[in-house]
Symmetry: D3
Subunit: 269 residues, 6 copies
Amino acid sequence: MPEKKYHRLLLTGAAGALGSELRPLVPDYAEKIRLNDRDPVKDCQSHEEFIAADLGDMEAMCALTKDVDAVVHMGGQSREGAWADVLNSNIVGMYNLYEGCRKNGVKRVIWASSVHTIGFYPRTEIVNPQSPTRPDSNYGVSKVYGEAVAQYYWDKYGIESVSVRIYSCFPEPLDRRQLTTWLSYNDLRHLIGQCLWAPSVRHTIIYGVSNNPAVLIDNRLAAHIGFHPQDTSEIYRAKVESNSPEPDPKSDVLGRHGGQFTVDQHFDD
Amino acid sequence: MPEKKYHRLLLTGAAGALGSELRPLVPDYAEKIRLNDRDPVKDCQSHEEFIAADLGDMEAMCALTKDVDAVVHMGGQSREGAWADVLNSNIVGMYNLYEGCRKNGVKRVIWASSVHTIGFYPRTEIVNPQSPTRPDSNYGVSKVYGEAVAQYYWDKYGIESVSVRIYSCFPEPLDRRQLTTWLSYNDLRHLIGQCLWAPSVRHTIIYGVSNNPAVLIDNRLAAHIGFHPQDTSEIYRAKVESNSPEPDPKSDVLGRHGGQFTVDQHFDD
Amino acid sequence: MPEKKYHRLLLTGAAGALGSELRPLVPDYAEKIRLNDRDPVKDCQSHEEFIAADLGDMEAMCALTKDVDAVVHMGGQSREGAWADVLNSNIVGMYNLYEGCRKNGVKRVIWASSVHTIGFYPRTEIVNPQSPTRPDSNYGVSKVYGEAVAQYYWDKYGIESVSVRIYSCFPEPLDRRQLTTWLSYNDLRHLIGQCLWAPSVRHTIIYGVSNNPAVLIDNRLAAHIGFHPQDTSEIYRAKVESNSPEPDPKSDVLGRHGGQFTVDQHFDD
Amino acid sequence: MPEKKYHRLLLTGAAGALGSELRPLVPDYAEKIRLNDRDPVKDCQSHEEFIAADLGDMEAMCALTKDVDAVVHMGGQSREGAWADVLNSNIVGMYNLYEGCRKNGVKRVIWASSVHTIGFYPRTEIVNPQSPTRPDSNYGVSKVYGEAVAQYYWDKYGIESVSVRIYSCFPEPLDRRQLTTWLSYNDLRHLIGQCLWAPSVRHTIIYGVSNNPAVLIDNRLAAHIGFHPQDTSEIYRAKVESNSPEPDPKSDVLGRHGGQFTVDQHFDD
Amino acid sequence: MPEKKYHRLLLTGAAGALGSELRPLVPDYAEKIRLNDRDPVKDCQSHEEFIAADLGDMEAMCALTKDVDAVVHMGGQSREGAWADVLNSNIVGMYNLYEGCRKNGVKRVIWASSVHTIGFYPRTEIVNPQSPTRPDSNYGVSKVYGEAVAQYYWDKYGIESVSVRIYSCFPEPLDRRQLTTWLSYNDLRHLIGQCLWAPSVRHTIIYGVSNNPAVLIDNRLAAHIGFHPQDTSEIYRAKVESNSPEPDPKSDVLGRHGGQFTVDQHFDD
Amino acid sequence: MPEKKYHRLLLTGAAGALGSELRPLVPDYAEKIRLNDRDPVKDCQSHEEFIAADLGDMEAMCALTKDVDAVVHMGGQSREGAWADVLNSNIVGMYNLYEGCRKNGVKRVIWASSVHTIGFYPRTEIVNPQSPTRPDSNYGVSKVYGEAVAQYYWDKYGIESVSVRIYSCFPEPLDRRQLTTWLSYNDLRHLIGQCLWAPSVRHTIIYGVSNNPAVLIDNRLAAHIGFHPQDTSEIYRAKVESNSPEPDPKSDVLGRHGGQFTVDQHFDD
């Protein structure tokens, strides 16, 4: 059996939907797993330990990242929210996490960025990892901040990162837009696995989306990760179209990458 | 069953080879189909109506596009011909068709542009939908005109279009060049279906060619259409090579995208 | 004194504003000048001859281009107009002119294309000669047709062309948009002179605009022409701003390359 | 005299070095000027009013931007500093400023971004406004955040912005690196003037650097601003080289755009 | 049975590993095969003849290429070596081979260039056939020389070439880097077959690598060759990882395309 | 007076035309100058020493580069010649020179590459430093080899280089092609001076051509050198055109960057 790549790996957001999906995967890459969430995580195995901590708490973040080789960071605010929450979790929290990593010598961080960093691109424009950002929400802006942090800690401190711009990660596509933007749980696991496996990543940005009928992204600049999605929303097309009405063709809900986020009112209004 | 996307769809060139292939497909997307050709179309079904009209007749074109949501335009001059014919069908005719669409509020036009818009590119140069045009015939020039009309009516009047640059659409590849340029009827139907399905297309240019051993086009700029050809000329390779001699390697017949068109004499000479 | 480059040069539109500006220039490059317009031209010099002819008349075009080495084609419909006029002058006329050139062995054509081939680009987007066309009028579409003809006759018949996309060529800038789009008569003459001088042009597209405070075009792909505009609208800035009100900042009149053309109603309505 | 473009303009950082340079310029573009700083501003003229306010105070920012058409935002933390200061002035402060603009209907914001958004590029790599960001400090990361805010408020709320990535703006170049990165006060004033004048800017990123012997940036994507620097550090070359020793050629102080910032230790350590 | 494309084909390096793999393939494309190596080749068939010759011997190279239509050149120095050997086989030898081809009217040369022409690119950067070269050894520099020769003889003398930048061609991947860089013998044969088949190649550069989990190259500019690798190193992943230790993540052995070559000492030291 | 940048600088080809022009310049950058040529150099000053040596002699090259900080390498074969000469001077010689530099710790090499590395590009195509090479002669191929050596010694051994692709460097333009390709002696000196001055160059390729009426190159990728040519062939236009006949417009002598080289017969025939 090959030696595991990392000794100890930290998984944040471990009680959330994506964290739960990834929890069985990460032991392939590390001998010991540290789980983190604000909420407690159930059924810790022998190779797992749980530590509760808030991203906004610098001291807690430094403790959390101690003796860790790599981080899979699924925690933080995962949709548009009040500015105070976005600020605390995704801006202050991101800074705290990377400061912890810097002080503790963590080698690699893989974290959940978002389609909402580029949500204002029209559907007819294919984005790549170097497309200028066009965030569609304060949430999206906070993810642009996070990617800049990741780039900075690579250039200045040599910490490698993969910023995974996840599209719509659900058990199955929920509406017509997700026929294009869906990322299956299967493909998410494969993608995170490859991010952990890749010999060298520097700071890589990669889109997370399945092999759907129409794919609006071009991941070639991240080809070194070796992400080859296997699932497709095609098999759900009839079901989804029966359940959700054909939307107004002029609406940005279908017309832009970010969907509903591009038309929602300001959250704090 | 999902609601159909369009109420009434117009199919021009309905008596021709490509029109006949598409006739059974379009009812998946619209409740009623209007068929058009200069020649009569046989065996109209209950959801079909037939109207004869010449593209060069503005009044007829306005009548033809009345109460229509979308057009699949396979009519017009489909190869090099006398200048008078090219002018009437593909220039005046294209203007008339879009004027009809503008006056009648048609939302989307999908139409047969051609490889001959870029026929002078050498085989060793891969073209994409934004490659500068290099037409190889008056016919090819008329298709460049048509694409400019499609772009203009999108920018000015909000009519969406897909200009499908069809390569060699036949039941099977006819000669060595078509081993590269062949588009199967199957893949044509899939392509036109996706053009009808796509939520937003603005004005999109896309190449229509099957998944052949060597493919000289790059459709990534049209990835939002979701065209994934399934057929390949590979299975006809031995047959075609047995039947057609190895041509002069210096001839443009094999050496340029447009094949024979690039070397033919001027039609009206 | 150096031998002149061409024996006989044809100048069309010789009675118009631009033709009149160029008339004293062209003798630097050819020994004999043939002038053409629908209207008569005054004061023919000994090296000049005048022939009236309509672009829509194929036979006349063949006669006009006989014994000619090069053409400076400033004739045709020079703004949006009735479809019948645009069709006759800029589409049928362009075809006739190049057929004449082909039959008579003309070597080079320099002609007035237009900003209106790309008029729908927003002011904040810099265009180059390979930017996909976005015409803003039937007039603009007819110029896209003309450029396709020029490309075709180069690739197929070896006739060189320069398509000069003239912006706003007037004695001085007339309104706020022209502070950006103005081409001085001086710079026009220099530009056409360089097009005649350049040893090899194949089919070159080049933008004609002076060295204004803000320049929205990038002519590097045509650097072999050697066009270095010397004039600037800057010296008219105060005068123009005093005379014309600050327009609605959201209007496309200032916001797009094509200005007023992008918002005008359809001409034939 | 031409009507002024704006009724009331807000200048932040009005007591700082750059703010003081711009204070005599902005009245060319607006009838009334509101000055802001944390420190008081001296000698208010009749067209000026002064309001003290801290960027971190949302309520104050909303009051400050009331009845304002355009903002020239030179305030905020202008170099690397303690995380708490960077966070308060450049992240929370930027959010507050744009929220104020959104609520008060401000049309355009011109603000001081920084070379430190791309500071880690080697000197041998020329950056343009779409080069992926490579911040060299927490300060630089905060400016990437600010640019994402500017892009977001354009896409979502239609507020235009120019993010001016200022290099080294001083009375004269201070060291060998500034022979390349210097922006003269003269050129700064010209640049900000053009940002105020330009008819349409959407969200534009532009580099602010003079016409020095070697220029490491390519502003063509911002050509619509019409920035033509007139000054050059060349005239200071001998003086600077006499006063500052030839640095270690392998050091990033000369070798990267961001200079000293790329090698400084973490500020809070 | 289709007529064979070439009458006589020369295979150099016929006694080597790659030459031996290709020997059974080439008869599909030519009636007669001439085998060449410094060492004798065994078991010549009736359609084969063997001629020994050294690449450094101009006269021998002219004799070797006599009455030949096409060459598959697998000979030469195939790894870093003493400068005298690299010079003789890959520089003088390449010149001699193409001079022979020129004098004898050979139409097409397919030859083994190498990943080591671009070996210094980091693994996170995807290369295409037009990426500027970054050789990692004197061997790699000699292959850049060879590609320049191939381009020159196409432009000047009309001899077509395919420069195949082979990665790691072995029966199975030997170490962790080869999980990414492996080219199976199967895929090599398919690739060379397509190079022989393609109707027109001018001078094409193409990468030879299998369909591995992560692929660091982009062959789209060579799509006209029609190379579709079928094998993947994935099936060897567990075996390779068990047998070879996880390397130092900062080492260029895994971090750059050229692997070990980028860190080896100078051969002649 | 500023400290000089280098202690000892080696100038090769010091007895040639370009070497003679540069000899008075290099003392601005170094305290001591070593001159080299096969032929003796006259009138050595106190800061100069002369050493004769042949590039093909490795031992001599190692001696020549001892105690040297920087090299300006104008020696070698400077036009198409017999293969044996090109091989000895530009291939073996280049290898020897860089081996000497490696062994003696030389920091920077500036050397005369050539337009003939890209001579086959048509005049209508603008080249930049990353355009794929298209040599027009064995001489041009040898310069591609030299540039690969320069890149390799930077990537592997950290020796910086500037490869200066000199066009036509003469006292004044000699024929019509040189109206476009002329590099004045003045501009050559300025260019080499900037190459010596630039703080960091890694391996930079830059074109050497004056500010002529038409310029076929784009040096932006080398903007960090700060080369701003001041001279123009324009002032010689009338003289040159009077003295040299208008050439055949279809000839590559004017139609390609490399001019006469692209049409000359093989030197050794």
